[in-house]
């Protein structure tokens, strides 16, 4: 369970998250939608401690993320994250990209890590790209590789930070399909996304962020289908 409680986050003088509280239960898929600058991506970076927070608390399975005593490297093993700019390691082959963390962080043997990587890559449809370098892949393929890389750590949670925003339109579908597959497998997921229809399809709950706050939250049918707040309705209209 991810428990976000009254989190404030600033960059210098600019406060981007202004007291967000949100709980994500095990097995739940929560989508965060909202305009750019509404603090949704920043919040995601705070969940696995990539960004420090100024106030409030985030607990993952009861462990305080922003406590100095917390072993973040260990905590991050169970929180996978997929970035907007897929962030493939360009100097490693696709297979090595996926094998690296299981070997070096989890201490698996080369054989184990390789088997794991092959399994994950095949799962996301990259079974024929093991020896390829990421630079030779399309954006969609790189993003699917990034998903496989995160999954190879057997995380309990997956965070997606606008995973399809940097992709050419015709490549968005393949990545969304991969994410949908994960959701159907019962993965606990937090998605920051601009794909409203997709969010409606896969989410258990949808949160609309505005000015660093949760403006409206509820079932997808409510928030997207029948928004209660005029700002939510206006946003949905603007992205259609």
């Amino acid at each position: 369970m991810i428990e976000i409680d009254n989190v404030h986050k600033s960059f210098g003088d600019l406060e981007v998250v202004k007291g967000v509280s949100l709980t994500v239960n095990k097995g739940e898929v929560v989508s965060i939608i909202g305009g750019s600058g509404s603090g949704k991506s920043t919040l995601l970076m705070c969940i696995n401690g990539l960004e420090p927070i100024q106030k409030g608390s985030i607990r993952v399975d009861g462990i305080e993320v922003h406590n100095r005593a917390t072993d973040l490297n260990r905590l991050r093993q169970k929180i996978g994250i997929v970035f907007q700019q897929w962030n493939a390691f360009p100097h490693l082959t696709v297979l090595e990209n996926v094998m690296l963390a299981p070997r070096k962080v989890l201490g698996k043997s080369r054989e184990e890590a390789e088997a794991l990587a092959i399994q994950q890559l095949t799962h996301v449809g990259l079974g024929d790209k093991f020896k390829t370098f990421p630079g030779k892949l399309s954006g969609g393929q790189q993003q699917r590789m990034a998903i496989a890389r995160a999954l190879a750590m057997s995380p309990d949670y997956m965070l997606f930070d606008e995973a399809t925003s940097a992709l050419d339109p015709q490549l968005v579908g393949e990545v969304l399909d991969t994410m949908r597959m994960l959701a159907e497998d019962g993965m606990t997921m937090v998605l920051v996304t601009h794909e409203i229809r997709f969010a409606r399809d896969v989410s258990d709950r949808v949160a609309f962020f505005r000015n660093g706050l949760v403006h409206e939250i509820g079932s997808p049918d409510q928030v997207i289908g029948n928004p209660q707040q005029p700002e939510t309705a206006a946003f949905l209209k603007s992205v259609k």
Binding site: L50, N87, H91, L100, V105
Partner: protein, 221 residues
């Protein structure tokens, strides 16, 4: 006007000795590069540090190494330390001087290279549970190496050429030292130094060729 007779035959008899000297030259340069790279990496990290003293030392090193003649750097290490009662051998002073110089130049290259590796690479590595050190070692440094590879091989050539400065602190078994010994014994300056120059040229060219080959093997992406 021109009444100098070239004596190549006798000069060429010195070739085995000069080749032995060339090996000392190469070895010294290679060692200075190994230490130089290690120190440069440390300096690069120091210059990014929060701690002002560490940052100051790093910046001062780079600044002094790049803005004073390498000749003086070696001179000060040999005679300067000597006058303080710290006596080091000619070879050690040369090695330390070139290492000091290499580290300064390389640290500056590394800093530029580090800027060329996107910070998001660090994020991605950390998000997979890697420690900062692991992320540097397995993700950042290998990519950095590619960016700085040609400056690195350039510096190696420089290091080889800088070893010729050892002669001013009395080094006599490197290529320049051996050449100078023959020169003062025979006054066949042109012949010996021409041969030495050719040897320096060949070493430098060999380094560039090996670097090309290594780059082709290492950076397949």
């Amino acid at each position: 006007m021109f009444d100098y007779t070239f004596q190549w035959r006798s000069a060429l008899r010195a070739l085995p000795d000069m080749l032995a000297g060339a090996w000392v030259t190469f070895e010294t340069a290679a060692l200075s590069m190994i230490f130089g790279v290690l120190i440069a990496l440390a300096l690069t990290v120091m210059r990014e540090a929060q701690q002002p003293v560490l940052r100051g030392i790093g910046n001062a090193w780079v600044s002094i190494a790049r803005n004073t003649p390498s000749l003086f750097q070696i001179y000060i290490l040999y005679f300067g330390l000597g006058s303080l009662g710290l006596h080091v051998s000619s070879w050690f002073a040369l090695l330390a001087g070139i290492t000091f110089n290499n580290a300064g130049y390389l640290a500056e290259n590394f800093r530029g290279g580090l800027k060329a590796v996107p910070t998001t690479q660090m994020r991605a590595a950390r998000s997979l549970g890697m420690s900062a050190f692991q992320a540097y070692r397995m993700i950042i440094v290998p990519q950095l190496l590619r960016v700085v590879f040609y400056p690195l091989s350039n510096q190696m050539v420089w290091a080889v050429l800088m070893t010729s400065l050892g002669v001013i602190v009395g080094l006599n078994n490197d290529l320049t030292g051996v050449t100078q010994d023959y020169n003062v014994k025979t006054f066949r300056t042109f012949e010996y130094f021409a041969i030495a120059a050719v040897l320096y040229y060949l070493i430098a060219k060999l380094i560039v060729a090996v670097a090309r080959l290594m780059a082709w093997r290492l950076f397949r992406y």
